[in-house]
């Protein structure tokens, strides 16, 4: 029995059908990440779980209880907002203890919980400050602290790292992963950043236009995308797509074939399965990305971990690992 279950949930904004009958089962303790392009409905779906948006159809079940129409206060969930949404007139301590104070929890117990959370998040020295006096990273940790002192059934995160600079983002990502391992709490995490999705998630949910495109472990999505959209969304640089007639040997009945850049190799032009003209060489030190154009119009990227002598305008051949080829039919579904 799933811990958190979305059954056919729908959301309309006026005429706009923002969430189109989503089904999802989340197990207790799982770390689920929603990814998808901007505007696909990730935040909306998360806010529906939180009770901040009315659910127009379907059911939401938490721990065996139907909470479709339960007010958010009674859902026992905690959310970390993109803007952190700290209470600006309260100290860090008051921010973290707010929910417990409203719930009339024993002050000694509140004190203990806040201190424990502050210690875990390295905030002990800042308990008496207001959010104004904190750095972005510290505010972010206060927002997380406010969530964990409540020991909620589910943690919800809406793009919590998007306001941090790159270095801090990487560090906080690791901290969130550690925190999840330690607390083992069920977590739903929204991001548009696939690195966050791949590194944090037990399972990733890929959304597009209010529909779930695929659910699976990060590597599952990477190795077996169910359709063209997922194959393009997961992986950086994107999977190369070519019309089937370029590769008759492996295409067999598909409309399009996809090959990840690292499964291709630049070789001499003669006798290669494909050949193209080099358009750009990106040398990143540990890897080299060779951008080339096949038949003058199909852009592909080859990734290799040895440096190259190739220059722009050179004609090169491309070899690939036939067992790693993805085939898609004319609808974009994987075969």
């Amino acid at each position: 029995m799933a811990f958190l279950k979305l059954q056919n949930v729908d959301k309309y904004y006026g005429k706009l059908h923002a969430i189109k009958g989503v089904n999802l089962e989340i197990e207790n303790g799982e770390f689920i990440v929603f990814v998808g392009p901007s505007g696909c409905g990730k935040s909306t779906l998360l806010r529906m779980i939180a009770g901040l948006e009315v659910i127009n159809g379907g059911e939401l079940i938490l721990d065996g209880k139907d909470i479709t129409t339960t007010p958010s206060a009674q859902r026992d969930l905690a959310m970390v907002f993109q803007s952190y949404a700290l209470y600006p007139h309260m100290t860090v301590e008051d921010n973290m203890s707010f929910a417990l104070r409203l719930a009339k929890v024993d002050p000694a117990e509140i004190q203990e919980k806040v201190e424990k959370a502050a210690e875990k998040l390295d905030l002990t020295a800042y308990l008496k400050r207001t959010p104004k006096m904190l750095s972005g990273g510290q505010r972010q940790r206060v927002a997380i602290g406010r969530a964990i002192v409540r020991s909620p059934k589910v943690f919800l995160f809406d793009e919590p790292l998007s306001n941090l600079d790159a270095a801090l983002r990487g560090q906080t990502r690791v901290e969130i992963a550690e925190l999840h391992r330690e607390l083992g709490a069920t977590t739903v995490y929204v991001t548009h950043d696939q690195v966050e999705a791949m590194t944090l998630a037990d399972r990733v949910v890929v959304l597009r236009d209010g529909i779930i495109e695929q659910v699976g472990t990060p590597l599952d999505l990477y190795d077996h995308p169910k359709n063209r959209f997922v194959s393009q969304f997961i992986g950086m640089p994107q999977m190369n797509l070519l019309p089937a007639d370029f590769l008759p040997a492996v295409a067999e009945g598909s409309a399009e074939v996809g090959i990840r850049p690292e499964h291709m190799k630049a070789v001499g032009a003669e006798g290669a399965a494909l050949s193209g003209v080099v358009e750009l060489v990106e040398s990143l030190g540990n890897e080299t990305l060779i951008h080339m154009k096949i038949a003058g119009k199909h852009q592909i990227i080859v990734r290799q971990y040895v440096r190259t002598e190739l220059k722009i305008g050179d004609t090169v051949g491309v070899e690939f690992d036939a067992s790693r080829v993805h085939r898609f039919d004319s609808e974009g579904l994987a075969l």
């Binding site: 939180a50 958010s72 206060a73 959310m79 700290l86 600006p88 929910a99």
Partner: protein, 291 residues
Amino acid sequence: MQSSSAGNRFVPRLLLSPAVATLLLWMLVPLGMTLYFSAIRYNLMSPELTGFVGWANYEFFVTNPAFTDAVLNTLVLLGSTVFITVAFGLAIAMLINDPFPGQSFVRILLISPFFVMPTVNALLWKHMMMNPIYGVLAQVWTFFGLEPVNWLQDLPLFSVILMLSWQWMPFACLIFITSLQSMDREQLEASDLDGATYLQKFRYLYLPHMARAITVVIMIEVIFLLSVFAEIFTTTNGGPGTQSTNLAYLIYNEALVNFDVGSASAGAMFAIILANIVAFFLIRIVGKNLD
């Protein structure tokens, strides 16, 4: 270094000085003249009596039995109007904050009393609302089988407070509505998840957020309400007796009814002192919200 930075500041100060000097003159000349008039015998009814009288004008003004009443009335008027406008202004601003059909129309209606001139406001209330025979309130009272209240006769100060509140509440409301619009939505949502009720949100999120707006409203209202005159002049003439006489009206009474410019000037000095006392407490109480 020291001297050069001091020299650097000289030019800006020099350039500022004409403006500062004008403002100082603008303030000091009338103040000086008032001070001077308050120390001489200066009654338009008996222009032959002149000369320096020391504190006599002050003594005369303070020992006037109307004086204590006027000071009390001024403070009651001020306190009640500020309290009523802030309380109702907050309540109404909160009430119409969430979107509903016709919201902008309701806002315009709410704000419109502020654009009515004080004299017109007073006349409207005096004749249209509070007239004991044909006034709207009298009609309502009669409809319920009650004896119509003779507002301006029986409850003069309250009537003036009512008019002023009607006039100033839109101002408070307008400032509060503006302030509410900058309230962070995600904070409210976070408090939803934290289990806050509407009242708790009001207490812990809305009020602190609006502290600055409330301070501004109180400050501005105090400045204007300390010297209310038109409403009293048009409706009660300070009466019956001294029941609705405030300091401003008393000074007017001395200067232009009794033609005693000396004593009126002494009264004006008291008004300045009273304003400063009020300002002192005001800044002590609410000033810390303006950091």
